[in-house]
């Protein structure tokens, strides 16, 4: 590591910690409008709160069973995501991986932005945790729309849930449409090269595709927010890859970890690592001319800039980390 010398200065600086938002009182934030759904308001008495919650749950149930809810063109079901899917992921986020979020203020409060993150961990849990992080920590409770591989949309059940959670296929058309609609889009340009890399290569960023995400952001004129995720690399230490089996199953890799597949389903349990998600300074893209998106040299330069920034932050977070698990 070339920049190991800078460590002491970093260590001296008091670490800035974003206070964890108190989940029990969602309406405490003055910026936030009360959610559209009949989510329980802050309660006076605990018993009252439960009653309200039940009433809200029943109203929610009534809308679901009669089909009286809305989805957007991408199949994103906001109500289901907020009330069910997010709540399912939250224990994993809060209790299991104990995700710490830094630099949330780098995400704009409104308008489109492209969050570019590193990808790791054999299973794309990092994407899901990133989605929870953005929603729970951002003052405007923004929803992250992730771009996912086509494999996600080939698998039954998975594709259905992914669409409902607001994910869509990683292609320029979808990304640009979302960005132009003012959505927050998350992309992991390393793709399968990143998520399926051996444990020995952890925290070494892979090639960033062909830099398509940069031209998409440029066309939409939205800033790029680099994001570094530490902790996801160690959840499934991939020590081997059964390539023949992977080819038979039609998946890009078949992970072999110290526990999987030897312990069966138990081996598929991720290790409870401690995560840190850091959002970096946004890189503006609105200063370029209209034809800049076609300029390959500029694309490569910007891609490298984003990549360098993520890699640098990863190293910095790694030297700050006390242990993998705490």
């Amino acid at each position: 590591m070339a920049d190991a010398k800078v460590i002491p200065f970093d260590e001296d600086r008091p670490r800035r910690r974003i206070p964890r938002r108190v989940r029990a009182v969602p309406a405490a934030d003055p910026v936030v409008e009360p959610p559209a759904g009949p989510e329980p308001a802050p309660a006076a008495a605990p018993g009252d709160s439960w009653d309200r919650r039940i009433a809200g749950g029943l109203a929610f149930l009534r809308r679901r069973v009669t089909g009286d809810y809305e989805v957007d063109d991408f199949g994103y079901d906001k109500e289901l995501t907020d009330q069910v899917l997010m709540s399912l992921m939250r224990p994993l986020y809060d209790k299991y991986f104990r995700v710490e979020v830094k630099g949330i203020e780098n995400i704009p409060a409104e308008g489109g932005a492209l969050i570019v993150a590193n990808h790791s961990g054999t299973l794309p849990l990092d994407g899901l945790m990133l989605q929870v992080a953005v929603h729970d920590h951002h003052p405007a409770e923004r929803h992250l729309r992730l771009l996912a591989a086509d494999l996600v949309f080939m698998l039954p059940v998975v594709n259905e849930l992914a669409r409902k959670a607001g994910h869509t296929l990683a292609c320029a058309e979808d990304a640009q449409r979302l960005l132009e609609a003012g959505e927050l889009v998350g992309v992991m340009p390393e793709g399968f090269k990143g998520i399926g890399k051996p444990f020995g290569d952890r925290y070494k960023l892979q090639r960033f595709g062909r830099g398509g995400f940069v031209s998409t952001a440029l066309r939409a004129g939205t800033p790029i927010v680099p994001c570094s995720i530490v902790g996801a690399e160690e959840i499934y230490p991939m020590v081997g890859n059964a390539k023949t089996l992977a080819r038979l199953l039609g998946v890009p890799y078949f992970p072999i970890t110290p526990t999987f597949p030897w312990l069966g389903p138990l081996g598929a349990l991720p290790l409870p690592t401690k995560w840190t998600i850091q959002f970096g300074e946004p890189i503006p893209t609105d200063g370029y001319a209209a034809e800049a998106a076609e300029d390959p040299m500029l694309m490569f330069n910007l891609t490298d800039q984003v990549r360098e920034q993520i890699q640098h932050t990863l190293y910095k977070l790694l030297v700050q980390r006390r242990s993998v698990f705490f």
């Binding site: 009653d51 109203a59 009669t66 058309e173």
Partner: protein, 374 residues
């Protein structure tokens, strides 16, 4: 739409002669009746291979098969200047024919019709009904199709392939006759009280078989909107709009298949894809519904199109959104096994039972919130 709009795009001194193919179908018949009321239309010639079961008003019905060259004579005889080609259909129970006949009418019929148009000196406008199924639909396709999206894989057969081939011939015709304004309208699934499409039949099955693990996004366009946009395409463009080219036509918004089944009150039966193929052929064999591989594809991946061109270039605003179209359709079909009202009441009863345990007033709050949302 104001009545004055008709005259805006250049008042024509001579009335138009409109030829409509596929007039024996429900939609064709309604369009024939509708367009003859337009003040600038002098005569309407309705063409089909079978005698329509419905009235055609003052239109002149010519029974001819568009697969035969006789169609050229019809064009010349009546000095037709506008051709509205609606005989591109999925061929559901209404036609009774096997798919080979439908395919021949779609493809060979279009070729004959285009050949006749090319020869005709009077034809100035051609409107072709196509379908958004030309985009196919796979897991590797973008979520929303625009008019310029190239399909990832060409449809292997059925109506989608027919429509894609028809569009190919129409493009060739547009190149050879640049003086003719050609408008191709790609309709999303057409629904409404009179719908007789394969999808409408599917929505009438008491227990709808679905693909396990997939919840497709569907988009609908109302029959009334279809008639309106066809009328818009068949006449001179209004100022500031252009009605030649290819346009996606769909109502606003998206419904998931699960939402459709709940709003209809028809339970679903999720099946694995191979099992669904088997059920599909079984249903086809007994003639219950046309459950084609193409329809299974729609029910797997769904299909959503962008309609910006329709609004901004064609200048058409549909009256019905996707959800409103579906509601109108659902009303006409009567309720299924689990009507949403009854299911909703069941939930209310549970709420009332809890209410008795001391949940005073809270339910009303929730209802007020719900009411406000509506």
């Amino acid at each position: 739409m104001q009545p004055g709009d008709f005259f805006e795009g250049g008042a024509e001194l001579v009335g138009k002669v409109v030829l409509v193919t596929g007039a024996a179908r429900q939609l064709g018949g309604r369009f024939v009746r509708r367009i003859q009321r337009d003040p600038d239309v002098e005569r309407v010639i309705a063409v089909d291979a079978v005698t329509p079961p419905h009235r055609l008003g003052s239109a002149e019905f010519v029974r001819t098969d568009i697969r035969q060259s006789a169609i050229a004579r019809v064009l010349a005889e009546h000095a037709v200047d506008t051709v509205v080609h609606l005989a591109v259909t999925g061929g559901s129970a209404g036609t009774g024919g096997a798919h080979s006949t439908v395919k021949e009418t779609n493809v060979i019929g279009t070729m004959q019709l285009l050949g006749a148009c090319q020869k005709s000196p009077t034809v100035r406008r051609l409107v072709v009904k196509s379908s958004t199924s030309v985009y196919g639909g796979t897991s590797r396709d973008p979520a929303v199709f625009t008019e310029t999206t190239e399909p990832k894989s060409l449809p292997a057969g059925g109506f989608a392939k027919d429509a894609a081939e028809v569009e190919g011939y129409v493009r060739g015709f547009a190149r050879r006759r640049p003086d003719v304004a050609v408008c191709v309208l790609r309709f999303a699934n057409i629904l409404g009280p009179y719908a007789d499409s394969a999808l409408a039949e599917y929505f009438s099955i008491p227990v709808m078989p679905t693909v396990l693990g997939y919840d497709p996004r569907l988009q609908f366009v109302h029959e009334d909107d279809v008639l309106e946009v066809l009328r818009l395409a068949a006449r001179e463009p209004r100022r500031g709009t252009l009605n030649s080219g290819t346009f996606n036509i769909a109502g606003d918004g998206v419904l998931l298949l699960s939402q459709c089944s709940r709003r209809l009150g028809r339970p679903t039966l999720p099946l694995l894809l191979p099992a669904l193929n088997w059920v599909g052929s079984a249903l086809r064999a007994v003639g219950a519904t046309d459950f084609s591989p193409e329809q299974i594809r729609l029910l797997t991946h769904g299909r959503v199109v962008e309609t910006t061109q329709m609004r901004e270039v064609l200048g058409f605003e549909p009256l019905y959104t996707t959800a409103e179209t579906f509601a109108d359709f659902a009303r006409s079909r009567g309720s299924g096994l689990l009507p949403p009202e009854r299911v909703g009441r069941a939930v209310d009863r549970v709420a009332a039972m809890l209410d008795a345990d001391g949940l005073d007033g809270l339910k009303d709050d929730a209802y007020a919130a719900e009411g406000a949302k509506r």
